[in-house]
């Protein structure tokens, strides 16, 4: 099977995020970047699929020069080769990324395209659906388990409060939910070998952005709590505060 996994490079979940001076982007200096955790699940699903069915596993990112590290991590986990679509422009919206992935996918003709259900930086949730449209392929989101058959797959996806079973023909686009398969730790010998695996660099197709970020702001800090003494005399004060201050009653 010919498998493509799309990954992105995102700030570490523990990173302290600051808005940059332009008020439209995130300050990247001093921030540790990692392979998007949902993409790790996608990659693990793909690696295990390749281990059982054979074929070639390609990992792809659409990003600036700095993203080589997450491609190496993906190669160390088990991908055979990587494609780095070099995005020259700083701002990339979901359409830009999806359009570039679709462009490569048309050449590669993968049997299945995996990606995480979302990247934890901008949480747009759009890439898999856009890819479905651009490539005219079935696209299933938030998938939590898959069974493989010849030319088709069945599986389950998470929906609000439950599960939904699905079946689709291949090729297809699958965005995966956390926990579909527990991602492996990159092993030392594989990390050593990863540097010999090829990373093919392609220039991005520069498409005009379809959305524009106007402003970024951090969430307001939670207000400091007030502690009343707990006597009956406080009840009136409590009601007043809930009504006038917190405005919940």
């Amino acid at each position: 099977m010919n498998i493509l996994v799309c990954v992105s490079r995102v700030p570490d979940t523990a990173a302290k995020i600051k808005v940059a001076g332009d008020n439209k982007s995130v300050e990247t200096a001093g921030v540790k970047f990692i392979l998007n955790p949902y993409d790790e699940y996608a990659l693990e699903e793909a690696i295990q699929l390749q281990e059982s069915k054979g074929g070639e596993l390609t990992v792809l990112t659409v990003a600036g020069d700095e993203a080589t590290d997450v491609l190496r991590t993906a190669l160390a986990m088990g991908a055979d080769k990587a494609i780095h679509v070099k995005a020259n422009q700083l701002e990339k919206d979901s359409f830009y990324v999806a359009n570039n992935i679709a462009n490569v996918a048309k050449e590669l003709n993968p049997d299945i395209i995996f990606l995480g259900k979302q990247s934890i930086d901008f949480d747009s949730f759009q890439i898999s659906s856009l890819l479905g449209g651009l490539l005219d392929l079935p696209s299933v989101d938030v998938v939590s388990s898959i069974n493989y058959a010849d030319g088709s797959i069945t599986g389950e996806k998470d929906i609000e409060g439950g599960k939904e079973s699905f079946e689709t023909s291949l090729p297809a686009i699958i965005s995966v939910q956390k926990g579909i398969k527990e991602p492996r730790y990159p092993k030392l010998p594989q990390i050593m070998k990863a540097k010999q695996k090829p990373i093919e660099v392609k220039e991005a197709i520069e498409t005009p952005l379809r959305t524009e970020i106007l402003e970024m702001t951090l969430p307001e800090k939670a207000r400091a709590g007030k502690i009343l003494t707990g006597s009956d005399a406080d009840i009136d004060e409590l009601v007043r505060l809930l009504h006038e201050d917190a405005k919940v009653i």
Partner: protein
């Protein structure tokens, strides 16, 4: 949340992408697989056997061993960073890996017969076999040259007699690298589990390295075949292994110090006394800065020694310096961290006392702090104080 580490002098800029990837992979493994279980093992005094196969799978054994024997063929710095992360988990787990890598696989790869390399190294690399290193004796610690264990030439091999003590992994080991005197010269042998007359009782009741197995090795007329003899003569055999291991300890100690430092920072910022976090008091800041300062210096030493070892342009004195300085700073950091945590510091809810107690052993094993002082004393004066 993954551990972020301390990197004031931006050493990450000097490490290669692979080195950082290995460190981060081990770091994540330690956070997810070691930290949650280690206190329990420590309190019970048991070694976490469930980690051996996982560590083997992660590539933590045979880090520097050639790929043709199942190792990863990585460099000294990679090995050092892996030891740093493992010791952040626990000195006992790091000790297990140090022994397997530097004291067992290193001498087998460097000095053993080809057949023995092929027999043991792949099994040791995967964690399917465990090794130990027998040099220290009940009455010969800092002075290994005085060892009483002997080997006598017999038809087809050697007859070993004697006893070793303080042997990490001894009771678990499938193969022991044992040093004995043959016609008055120190020589190495591979003693295999099940050989008649070889036993390895565990030493119990330790207050330190409780999540690690420490044993005696007893040899009563153990017949060791010729093929099991190591091809090295004299004290330089065991010392060459110790050089490898001591280097790993210099990195390892930083891991323990970083763990208690992180705990101290978090505690000091959240513990409120006199209506403000104790991190805001001058005496507490002095303690925190002391640990931070020592860790930052120790990192520079470890980094430099690793690179010197990679270039082959190092002296054993460099390793004595690094082991001596870094273990002392880690032990001191634990003691200071204990003060920062107040009474809470003695609970196993925090990693402080476990690391402190472990490091009490690390301070005097693999060359005591004092012996390393004398090695450096000889280096700068030209006069050996221990002779």
């Amino acid at each position: 949340m993954t551990f972020q580490g301390t990197d004031f002098f931006r050493l990450d800029e000097l490490y290669t992408e692979e080195e950082l990837m290995v460190r981060d992979s081990v770091r994540e493994f330690v956070d997810e697989q070691i930290v949650p279980i280690i206190e329990d093992h420590y309190m019970k005094g048991t070694f976490p056997m469930e980690l051996v196969e996982k560590l083997g799978n992660l590539g933590m054994f045979g880090i520097k061993t050639s790929e043709k024997y199942g190792g990863a063929g990585a460099n000294y710095t990679t090995y050092g960073l892996a030891m740093q992360e493992l010791e952040r988990g626990d000195s006992g787990v790091r000790s297990f890996a140090s022994v397997q890598n530097s004291l067992v696989m290193y001498p087998i790869e460097t000095y053993a017969n080809e057949e023995k390399k092929q027999e043991w190294l792949p099994k040791l690399a995967s964690g399917k076999a465990i090794g130990c290193f027998g040099l220290t004796e009940p009455d010969h610690g800092s002075n290994p040259s005085g060892m009483l264990t002997t080997a006598k030439k017999i038809d087809g091999g050697y007859l070993l007699n004697g006893a070793k003590m303080w042997i990490t992994n001894g009771s678990l080991a499938d193969v022991a690298v044992v040093w004995a005197k043959l016609d008055g010269r120190i020589t190495g042998f591979l003693v295999e589990k099940g050989m008649k007359g070889f036993s390895a009782p565990e030493m119990k009741n330790k207050h330190s390295l409780r999540a690690s197995v420490t044993s005696e090795l007893i040899f009563q007329d153990v017949e060791v075949p010729e093929i099991n003899r190591l091809n090295v003569d004299g004290l330089k055999g065991p010392l060459s292994c110790l050089t490898q291991a001591r280097y790993g300890i210099a990195y390892g100690a930083i891991g323990a110090a970083m763990q208690v430092y992180e705990s101290s920072i978090n505690y000091a910022k959240s513990r409120i006394q006199f209506d403000k976090p104790i991190a805001g008091f001058q005496l507490v800041q002095d303690k925190l800065v002391h640990i931070f300062d020592e860790i930052s210096k120790a990192q520079l030493i470890a980094y430099r020694v690793g690179r010197l070892m990679e270039s082959g342009n190092f002296k054993p004195e460099h390793i004595s310096f690094a082991k001596r300085n870094n273990v002392k700073m880690a032990l001191e950091s634990c003691r200071i961290a204990r003060e920062v945590h107040g009474a809470n510091g003695i609970l196993n809810e925090y990693p402080i006392m476990r690391h402190a107690n472990n490091l009490e052993s690390v301070y005097t094993y693999e060359g005591t702090h004092d012996i390393h002082t004398l090695i450096l004393g000889q280096h700068i004066t030209g006069i050996p104080a221990f002779k």
